[in-house]
């Protein structure tokens, strides 16, 4: 196993399969990179099938079929079949656009286990404005209806930011109405397009505090009816998020063209060497890829992380965020109150701008 400072290398549980970067929506917080990978270079279904077998051998239990919009792949049913045949729990992460009722039924027959649909707002007009796509809200509701009719479990992913954070309660009510068993309150994170739009998306501290209190109330009110998962948006938190459960520890991400990343934003860190499933097996990549070993374990850490009691709890936070904000991917995530640069994050959290969004466009 790799020489990463620990005797046994952990095995990943989850694989994020970005089937394509194509997407009809233009959400300004999209976490895809600003340089999107072109259709002509996407992995074919046969290669994905091989990747799924290799993933199972490596220990992966769940695959998240994502994108972009995975339904933009005409061979989505073949890919889903392959994932299920390989033995993976298959989760489709979709905008709901471009997925017909017929194809959804085919996916269910292929063994799809779960569907996650994103919503932009509880207010249809605002939702369509945020998505940059007229009629998106209605089509998402229709798709959710089909998911429930087919008795597939549904998670609603409610992406929160300044334009909708006051409507958390309505968005959870909408998720319940749509028939979701679970709702994720996903505060925007500032990577990719989200970083570009940060000032347009940033909520006020008072809004964030109200949102946290509202979620607590909603959890009590809806206990046993809908599972509410939410985390404090990290610019307003005291400790950093344990990003991807620790670098190269719990999950991996395969891009549309086959590059394997420890997290979806990892390519934003310059100088990392990523390997591709076109040339190597997933196990080989997990164990020996320079990018995966760059921030594994704790030996790469500097102070205050290196001697911190929480170093194996939050793993120094997010490497991409440390690079994006400080230009040093090995620094403590500056959202941590122990970081000497925390004041910089607090200052950024005060910067709000009502200018038009930079929509995500290919």
């Amino acid at each position: 196993m790799a020489s990463n400072g620990s005797s046994t290398l952990s095995r990943p549980l989850g694989l994020l399969a970005e089937l394509t970067h194509r997407c009809p929506l233009g959400c300004p917080y999209c976490s895809n990179p600003l340089a999107l990978e072109p259709r002509e270079q996407e992995l074919d279904a046969a290669t994905w099938a091989r990747v799924f077998y290799e993933a199972v051998a490596l220990g992966v239990l769940q695959v998240h079929l994502s994108g972009g919009e995975p339904a933009a792949r005409r061979d989505l049913v073949d890919i889903t079949t392959a994932a299920r045949v390989a033995g993976l729990y298959t989760n489709l992460i979709t905008s709901g656009i471009g997925l017909t009722a017929k194809r959804l039924a085919e996916l269910r027959n292929a063994g799809l286990d779960h569907v996650q649909v994103s919503i932009q707002d509880s207010n249809p007009k605002s939702a369509d404005h945020i998505a940059g796509y007229d009629g998106a809200f209605t089509r998402k509701c229709e798709l959710a209806n089909e998911v429930v009719r087919l008795k597939l479990p549904l998670t609603v992913n409610a992406v929160m930011h300044r334009a909708n954070i006051e409507r958390i309660g309505e968005m959870v009510d909408l998720a319940l109405l749509m028939g979701a068993g679970r709702v994720e309150i996903a505060h925007v994170q500032y990577y990719g397009w989200g970083l570009k739009n940060r000032a347009m998306l940033m909520p006020e501290r008072a809004q964030v505090e109200r949102a946290i209190a509202t979620v607590e109330e909603l959890r009590k009110r809806y206990q046993g009816r809908i599972v509410i998962d939410a985390v404090v948006p990290d610019y307003f938190a005291r400790y950093p998020k344990p990003c991807v459960g620790g670098w190269g520890r719990r999950s991996l991400n395969v891009t549309p063209t086959g590059r394997v990343l420890p997290c979806h934003a990892a390519e934003s860190i310059p100088g990392l060497e990523f390997w591709s499933v076109r040339e190597r097996s997933l196990t080989d990549i997990w164990e020996y890829s320079p990018a995966f070993n760059a921030f594994r374990g704790t030996s790469w850490m500097k102070e205050p992380c290196a001697s911190c009691a929480r170093r194996e709890q939050d793993f120094g936070g997010c490497r991409c965020q440390a690079f994006a904000l400080l230009g040093d991917a090995a620094a403590t995530d500056p959202v941590c109150h122990l970081s000497p640069h925390r004041a910089q994050v607090s200052a950024l959290a005060l910067v709000q701008d009502d200018a038009p969004y930079f929509y995500r466009r290919v």
Partner: protein
């Protein structure tokens, strides 16, 4: 709204607990044990938890499951009833089980 259940609220003897669509108990060789797979979540199941969940097929009644476990583990039925109630209520609360 109706009164909320708690971890110790009794489960009807004729309930037939089952895993909903989207929740699966699988054995992973690579992970070295039983795991309960659910939307975006993975729960490692210890061998006893796995034995309990395996019996939640939607066919056996809760009473029969408790009887069966009490016999299999030669444990007092009262004790098994209490433990299994707490575990299944906990799973149901997380939408991992239908009662």
């Amino acid at each position: 709204m109706s009164e909320q259940s708690t971890a110790t609220t009794p489960i009807a003897p004729d309930a037939r607990p089952r895993l909903p669509h989207g929740v699966r108990l699988v054995h992973s060789e690579a992970q070295g044990g039983w795991v309960l797979l659910a939307p975006e979540r993975v729960f490692k199941a210890d061998p006893i938890a796995a034995e309990i969940v395996k019996r939640c097929t939607g066919e056996s009644t809760f009473a029969a499951i408790v009887d069966d476990l009490a016999q299999a583990y030669a444990a007092p039925r009262e004790r098994v009833l209490a433990d299994v109630t707490v575990m299944l209520r906990g799973l149901a609360d997380k939408k991992l089980l239908e009662l």
